[in-house]
């Protein structure tokens, strides 16, 4: 764990709902015990559907929200409860790209001003130097120099995301949090932003937490993946391993549900359709949160009703939180696994 760029340990974020005075003392368990670490230069994908808490994790790391419990360590420093003043110098190392290109840029500022703001804020450059730095950043993200003088509403969604990226990378942070950076863009534009992100990461070497619901993107970009369900991580592994040999039933269901743009493949796939809806984060099921929809619930009961499964290492850094999975014991196969992976497993 030493030398990790970002370390999150036991992170919890609970939102009280309803005024305590009025007696409505409910709690939304948005994030309920999340742990992971990101090495320098690594891209970790955080995958989950709605209600999984993935965006909340990002907000907590950025200290836009106060964590209820757990620790967050940025470059070795515990930032979990630092005051705003103490955080300020560390803000250089941690930046974010947002999902909505239409609300992530101040409509009253020019793009050049927007990109230059962090540099100005941290007193890294001013005047002429600042101008040059901004021009260089625009070049780096593939935008023509004169776009500096335009306002956000004059730009397309893809261009705006580039501006957002330029702003985030302007101070050369060590860690970038990307919260669904391409979900709001058209498919043809997504590709260019994804390529850009990949190139910039290779060039600048920052670590990245890539939060998304889109599995295809994660497989393309990320070194490692963590899958979240109802506020907890259910599986973490290197990308090839997660996609090649998913263990947790939820991961398997998620992978099988993703549609592949190839009718030959797509129509032959066996799909696991999960019963029911995602439970409300206000009332997570006891024991294993996934048991209400798990196709293997009959095998894991009654233990899954009482005991929460913890993340266990099944080898090679592949962590799974499932009662049916343990070292040396793989999960029942719900979906088709490629033949070569099967062979490797049986060996």
């Amino acid at each position: 764990m030493n030398g990790a760029a970002l370390e999150v340990d036991g992170l919890k974020k609970h939102f009280p709902v309803g005024s305590r005075l009025a007696g409505g003392g409910q709690v939304v368990y948005a994030v309920d015990g999340v742990s992971f670490s990101i090495a320098p230069g690594e891209m970790l994908g955080l995958v989950g559907e709605s209600g999984s808490g993935k965006s909340t994790v990002g907000n907590c790391i950025l200290r836009l929200l106060e964590p209820t419990d757990g620790t967050i360590r940025l470059l070795g420093t515990d930032i979990t409860h630092l005051s705003r003043r103490a955080m300020r110098p560390l803000r250089r190392e941690l930046h974010m790209v947002f999902q909505d290109p239409y609300s992530s840029l101040n409509p009253r500022m020019t793009c050049g001003q927007i990109v230059g703001e962090p540099l100005r804020m941290h007193a890294i450059a001013r005047g002429r130097e600042l101008d040059d730095a901004v021009a260089e950043l625009f070049d780096k993200v593939g935008l023509r120099a004169e776009i500096r003088f335009r306002y956000p509403h004059e730009l397309s969604g893809g261009q705006r995301q580039r501006v957002g990226l330029a702003r985030a990378l302007s101070v050369e942070p060590s860690v970038l949090i990307a919260d669904e950076p391409v979900s709001a863009l058209d498919v043809s534009v997504q590709a260019s932003i994804l390529n850009l992100l990949r190139d910039l990461q290779a060039e600048l070497g920052f670590s990245c937490l890539f939060i998304t619901h889109d599995l295809g993107t994660v497989e393309y970009l990320c070194d490692r993946v963590a899958v979240m369900y109802l506020g907890k991580i259910v599986e973490t592994a290197r990308t090839e391993e997660l996609f090649g040999d998913p263990q947790h039933p939820y991961t398997q269901a998620l992978l099988s549900a993703a549609v592949v743009p190839d009718p030959e493949v797509q129509r032959k796939r066996r799909r696991i359709v999960l019963e029911g809806d995602i439970p409300s984060p206000m009332a997570p099921p006891s024991g294993c949160a996934f048991r209400t929809r798990c196709p293997l619930e009959h095998e894991s009961a009654p233990r899954s009703h009482e005991e929460e499964p913890l993340l266990g290492d099944i080898g090679g850094g592949h962590l799974v939180a499932c009662h049916l999975v343990g070292p040396g014991r793989a999960a029942p196969r719900l979906i088709d696994v490629p033949a070569d992976v099967l062979e490797a497993r049986e060996a």
Binding site: L62, R63, L64, R84, M87, R88, P89, R91, R92, L94, H95, M96, F98, Q99, D100, S103, S104, L105, N106, P107, R108, M109, I114, E117, P118, M121, H122, D139, K140, V141, G142, L143, R144, I147, R150, Y151, H153, E154, L155, S156, G158, Q159, G164, R167, S192, D199
Partner: protein, 291 residues
């Protein structure tokens, strides 16, 4: 790194130009703007435009209907009515504009603080505002004017303070909404100080709403001034305003109703103009309306 943006950005995207186009498509709003400007000119250049001073009396021409020397006639004391209207415009515009500016100066900071910081201060401000909003604007203004004493300056104060609660609510609502915008979160995540965020990110983006609200508050203040002066709580004779003129016209309603009609019509036209302008601006500045 490839330059991928080949297509040029829409050349017609000048925001001001676009807004002007949109405004021009609304004849009522344009009419409102023109009339409002006309009144502003009357107010500023009253000394040059009015043929007579508002104090000038001509005892040879009392209660004249209209003549070549007196376009709209004269009042019982021989004042030229047209000149009265012009100088009245000055008082009304002063009252309207200054009280609105005063209200904004007080309400916007309070609303910003309440909406942005929330915490314990927000409920306090919100409840106080709610209490004040229970009083109709005019009642509040009349009460304040009565306490402060009768003069144009106090009328402006009273009207301004009376308009504060409504504007606080608007400013607070905007601040509340804007603080959730991603670019504000980005600034926070950047480590920006609160003052920076408030002045650079939140306030500029409230301007459209504030402009519209100001434009719509002015006619309220104009009418308010007329009411206060009519009741004797605002402008005091020999200074004149439309309200003062209305007061003086009471005794002559059967004999010469035009003494009340002229200032009355002026009030109607002035407030209507600002209202139409405000409505039009609201549409023009709203990004959701199509044209």
């Amino acid at each position: 790194m490839s330059y991928v943006e080949l297509a040029t950005v829409n050349p017609r995207a000048g925001r001001r130009r676009l807004l002007r186009k949109r405004l021009l498509r609304r004849p009522l709003a344009v009419a409102g703007l023109v009339v409002a400007l006309a009144f502003a000119i009357l107010a500023v250049f009253a000394n040059q435009i009015a043929p007579y001073s508002y104090r000038a009396t001509d005892f040879n021409a009392i209660l004249v209907h209209h003549s070549s020397k007196h376009l709209l006639g004269t009042d019982p004391l021989g004042h030229d009515i047209w000149s009265q209207i012009v100088f009245g415009a000055r008082a009304s515009m002063e009252a309207g504009v200054l009280s609105t500016l005063l209200a904004l100066a007080i309400a916007v900071p309070i609303g910003l603080v309440a909406g942005y910081y929330r915490g314990w201060i927000d409920p306090v401000i919100a409840r106080l505002t709610d209490v004040l909003l229970a009083f109709p604007f005019l009642i509040l203004a009349v009460g304040l004017a009565a306490i402060l004493g009768a003069s144009l300056r106090n009328a402006i104060l009273a009207l301004g303070i009376g308009a504060v609660p409504g504007l606080i609510r608007i400013a607070r609502g905007e601040a509340l909404a804007l603080r959730e915008e991603d670019y504000v979160r980005a600034a926070i995540a950047n480590g920006a100080r609160d003052t920076t965020i408030l002045f650079r990110h939140i306030l500029p983006n409230m301007m459209s709403t504030l402009i519209v609200q100001a434009t719509v508050t002015i006619p309220l203040a104009i009418i308010g001034e007329a009411v206060l002066s009519f009741l004797g709580l605002g402008v005091q004779p020999p200074a004149t305003s439309w309200g003062v003129q209305l007061n003086a016209a009471q005794d002559y309603l059967t004999e010469a109703p035009r003494l009340a009609v002229y200032p009355g019509v002026a009030i109607v036209i002035a407030s209507l103009a600002f209202n139409l302008l405000g409505d039009g601006l609201r549409d023009v500045l709203d990004p959701r309306t199509q044209r």
